[in-house]
């Protein structure tokens, strides 16, 4: 049945991977696309990148890091549960530059999951650099290792791979004489901004996948808009993958803070409700 969670795997303490049934999404999916999910009757709509799809089995794979209320609630769901709503595949598919032979893929934290389908679908030489705050947050290591020609890992605390940021690891690659036809960078806005700035200096074309606040995900509300090359774009229907050189990251950073207080309030409310239930 559509929307049913077929299986679930815990990737780290707050990151879960789900295989969800939805034959139409699975058969229409192209890399770069996402879904909108709702987990309960009073729930909000959140976008999640499709990490993989199996058209034959009619399933898609989603990787969720529990940061906000909905993602935390989703991570409590089990195999056999159903997502109340699942809409997709949304957004435009991502296509690699023509004739590209060697690609640099950079993923940070939560961006590692949406980076994976891009790595997997590139037919040339795949160089992957991943970063996270510590070893336990560096997800999909096994899949990435299998998919990459060369994998570089780094963590903020040095608990795995090199200690430091992905931009440092990239710099060492460049310094060693490596060159690439393009770069795909997915992660927190500050990371993508830093990667784009570094690559701009080298003239290395860089694609970023954006994940701003969305409501409908179909171009109707305009909540995910930002400035791109001097124009207004909607991440949901014009993206989510964009040419990083043209993205106004300042706009996105400002807009990403719109609902900070509400997000805390929603979590507080949830905890209050939960503790009330437990004390009964």
């Amino acid at each position: 049945m559509r929307n049913t969670i077929v299986s679930k795997e815990n990737l780290s303490e707050d990151v879960c991977s789900f295989i969800v049934e939805h034959p139409e999404i699975a058969s229409h999916y192209e890399p770069g696309q996402f879904v909108i999910v709702r987990v309960h009757e009073k729930g909000e709509r959140i976008p999640l990148t499709i990490v993989d799809a199996d058209p034959e089995k009619g399933t898609i794979r989603l990787v969720v890091q529990g940061v906000g209320l909905t993602s935390k609630l989703m991570n409590q769901m089990k195999a056999g549960d159903r997502l109340i709503d699942l809409l997709g595949p949304l957004g435009r598919p991502f296509h690699f530059p023509a004739d590209a032979k060697k690609g640099l893929f950079v993923g940070g934290g939560l961006g590692i999951a949406p980076l994976y389908p891009k790595v997997k679908h590139f037919e040339g030489e795949r160089h992957v650099t991943l970063g996270a705050k510590d070893a336990s947050h560096l997800i999909l290591q096994k899949e990435m290792k299998a998919a990459s020609f060369r994998l570089t890992l780094c963590t903020d605390d040095g608990s795995l791979g090199e200690k430091g940021l992905v931009t440092h690891a990239m710099q060492r690659l460049f310094d060693s004489g490596e060159s690439f036809d393009f770069c795909v960078a997915i992660g927190p806005l500050v990371m993508m901004k830093a990667v784009v700035e570094a690559n701009k200096a080298l003239g290395l074309p860089t694609f970023v996948s954006l994940n701003p606040i969305m409501v409908d995900g179909t171009g109707m509300c305009g909540g995910c808009r930002f400035e791109y090359d001097g124009e207004v774009k909607f991440a949901c229907v014009d993206g989510p993958v964009f040419d990083g050189f043209k993205v106004n990251f300042h706009d996105l950073l400002v807009r990403s803070r719109q609902y900070e207080k509400h997000e805390c309030r929603a979590l507080e409310h949830y905890r209050e409700k939960k503790s009330k239930k437990e004390s009964l």
Binding site: K42, T218, M220, R225, D251, V254
Partner: protein, 450 residues
């Protein structure tokens, strides 16, 4: 008995701005009969109705207190009377034709329609003779629902595809509950379900399934996806925190119930002094929703009030609710603080320079600007068709404005595909979408047999 028009009772403004319950209470039986009794039954009004309801017929039934018959008469031409009675712009349609309106007040046709629909709707469904054909309807707004009804009634097996998680389209996400309660919409949808129409939510045609795939499974496809792509001004500061497009505010509040956050998970950014830009019905809805979220609200409109496309009734209600109309003002810049939050808006004062071809004022800038105090700006300046179908279909022709090109029978350039509503005519009204949907359904029935 007074010979003047009877206005249904309204909840006092002070009370209604504290909740999202319906503003108009509708007629009592006594009021309905009294209003109906003013009618001369001349039938001039029918010409003004996009779906051709036998208005004198149902008014006569009210005069005779045969309310059930009255409801049946409406239902013959209109699937959604409880909705149309509430949101149709009667003053420019049926009531504009009313002969009584020439000297005095026209009959309150909308309120009478609503009276019958609210109190005398029956659960009976038309008898259906299956014709063995299948039809897909894309979109579950007023156009889609009307088409589904007509096609099902003619014997088609009908599936309606809706992108959102709720059925009703603009009736749910756009028009607020105080103007059109959700349960009124749900009741009408329930009738369709009983008739055997199948509904699939969270299905975005063009993405989840394509038009060509629908054609493989159906004899006919009718596209009624509405407008759905919001316009924006393109002025500095527009992407700051505290600038929303009306669709976002309305969707968060109406569809996602953000007014009840955190009981519902979706929040909406709030303001103390909200400026709504625009003069259409969406601007009025946005302003009145904002008022109900506890803010002081100003409407900023570049022409004069008489030029506003919004219904007179909506303007009147908005004013009663304490919304300030700042006309002849045109936004030029949204001012942001260091954190990127709205702190004010610069507007220029406009002046009238004459009359445009459409009868509205022609305006020009006076070059004089001033600052409006605000912490939240909402733009309600119109919509154009959503581009998702357009980008995922072949052989379907669109015009420069992104609307689907159709012939006089609402048939598109693609075989077995028809289109109706805002996707054809640009952003218009509920009833026009319904009228077109009916026409398109009729054309489909003609081709395949009813």
């Amino acid at each position: 008995m007074s010979s003047g028009r009877i206005t249904p009772r309204m909840r006092p403004a002070k009370e209604r701005i504290c909740d999202f319950e319906e503003v108009s209470l509708g007629y009592t039986e006594e009021e309905a009969v009294a209003e109906a009794s003013r009618c001369l039954l001349c039938g001039a009004c029918v010409k003004g109705c996009p779906v051709g309801i036998d208005i004198p017929g149902f008014i006569k039934a009210i005069q005779e207190k045969d309310f059930k018959r009255g409801y049946q008469i409406i239902k013959k031409n209109n699937l959604l009377p409880a909705i149309c009675g509430r949101v149709c712009p009667q003053e420019t349609q049926c009531e504009a034709m009313c002969i009584l309106g020439k000297k005095g007040d026209p009959i309150n046709i909308g309120a009478l329609e609503r009276f019958l629909a609210d109190h005398y709707a029956d659960e009976s469904i038309p008898r259906i003779n299956e014709n063995g054909h299948k039809a897909a309807v894309v979109g579950s707004g007023p156009g889609g629902l009307t088409a589904a009804f007509e096609l099902r009634r003619a014997g088609f097996q009908v599936t309606v595809y809706e992108a959102l998680h709720e059925l009703g389209g603009v009736l749910k996400y756009g028009i607020p509950g105080f103007r059109l309660p959700d349960d009124v919409v749900d009741r009408e949808i329930e009738t369709l379900k009983k008739m055997g129409v199948e509904f699939l939510t969270s299905f975005l045609i063009g993405k989840t399934l394509t038009i060509d795939e629908l054609l493989q499974k159906n004899d006919a496809v009718l596209i009624a996806t509405g407008a759905g792509l919001p316009g924006y001004l393109g002025i500095p500061g527009e992407n700051g925190i505290g600038v929303l497009l009306a669709n976002e505010l309305l969707t968060r509040v109406n569809l996602m119930k953000a007014y009840d956050f955190p009981r519902y998970d979706t929040p909406v950014i709030s303001g103390k002094k909200i400026v709504v830009i625009g003069g259409g019905n969406v601007a009025m809805d946005t302003a009145r929703v904002s008022r109900r979220m506890g803010a002081d609200v100003v409407i900023c409109y570049r022409r004069e009030e008489k030029d506003m496309p919004a219904r007179l009734e909506e303007r009147h209600h908005a004013k009663e609710e304490g919304i300030d109309f700042q006309v002849l003002t045109n936004p030029v810049e949204i001012l942001l603080n260091d954190e990127g939050r709205v702190r004010g808006m610069v507007v220029e004062r406009m002046k009238i320079t004459g009359v445009a071809d459409d009868g509205r004022s022609r305006i020009a800038s006076t070059k004089e600007t001033f600052e409006m105090e605000t912490d939240l700006v909402v733009e309600a300046i119109g919509q154009s068709p959503n581009k998702i179908i357009r980008e995922n279909v072949e052989k379907l022709e669109f015009d420069k404005k992104g609307r689907i090109v159709v012939d006089e029978n609402l048939k598109t350039t693609k075989d077995n595909v028809w289109a109706a509503g805002d996707i054809v005519s640009g952003a218009a009204t509920v009833i026009l979408a319904m009228g077109e949907a009916k026409e398109a359904a009729r054309a489909i029935v003609e081709k395949f047999g009813g």
